[in-house]
């Protein structure tokens, strides 16, 4: 079993839909949970991060962490064609050697069609 599981998709939705992206994990030591967005031929960019359990909202994006279920989600409201990208979840435990080394999911390819 991989430490982080993420369905690669693709997930295709119409413009304006609510999108739900999810990851599950097995390592209970993970404390920091991130979502990255990666456009084609670009590097990943940090979209949101959450510490421990709970929700965090930023504009149309909401990140949710349920540590009891080892399950994290990213919701995108009013999705736009410009949201079409690959979304990678990432998680890390405590600081080690001066850095948090994240473990990444495989990424979910999202396509928002007009």
């Amino acid at each position: 079993q991989k430490e982080v599981e993420q369905d690669p998709g693709p997930l295709s939705v119409p413009e304006g839909a609510i999108v739900s992206l999810n990851c599950t994990y097995s390592n209970s030591a993970f404390q920091y949970f991130m979502w990255y967005r990666q456009y084609s031929r670009k590097g990943p960019e940090l979209l949101m991060y959450t510490y421990s359990s709970g929700n965090k909202e930023d504009g149309r994006f909401t990140a949710q962490v349920d540590k009891s279920s080892k399950y994290i989600s990213l919701f995108i409201r009013d999705s736009q064609p410009s949201d079409s990208a690959t979304y990678l979840c990432a998680m890390s435990a405590t600081l080690s050697g001066g850095s948090y080394i994240p473990t990444f999911g495989r990424g979910t390819s999202l396509i928002v069609h007009p």
């Binding site: 991989k2 993420q6 590097g43 001066g98 850095s99 990444f104």
Partner: protein, 115 residues
């Protein structure tokens, strides 16, 4: 956050040859990270490059295959040596700025195809 320039952006190489990828950061950082992203796979950390010391390699990656240089606090290179088609992948460098920040900044990546 930081700005990372990575080059080349892509290359097609013959098997048995080597390719050196360069990564330039616009601020001084203690640690730089090199990742591999294979199709359909998760980002995998190859090694951590520290200025002034040997790079630290993750399990499954060795210095002879992926030698790394880190001559100063803003620059690093990763060489993919004696390439085979299995090395075809996207290679990315990354930093965490400020140091200790949980979020990483990535370069645009080098798309390598070995034929």
């Amino acid at each position: 956050s930081a700005v990372i320039s990575q080059k080349p952006s892509r290359d097609i190489c013959q098997r048995g040859t080597s390719l050196t990828i360069q990564c330039q950061v616009d601020s001084q950082v203690t640690m730089m990270f090199w990742y591999r992203q294979q199709p359909g796979q998760s980002l995998t950390l190859i090694a951590t490059a520290n200025q002034g010391s040997e790079a630290t390699y993750e399990s499954g990656f060795v210095i002879d295959k992926f030698p790394i240089s880190r001559p100063n606090l803003t620059f690093s290179t990763l060489t993919v040596s004696n390439m085979s088609p299995e090395d075809s992948s996207i290679y990315l460098c990354s930093v965490a700025v400020p140091q200790g920040w949980v979020g990483y900044t990535f370069g645009s990546g080098t798309r390598l195809t070995v034929v």
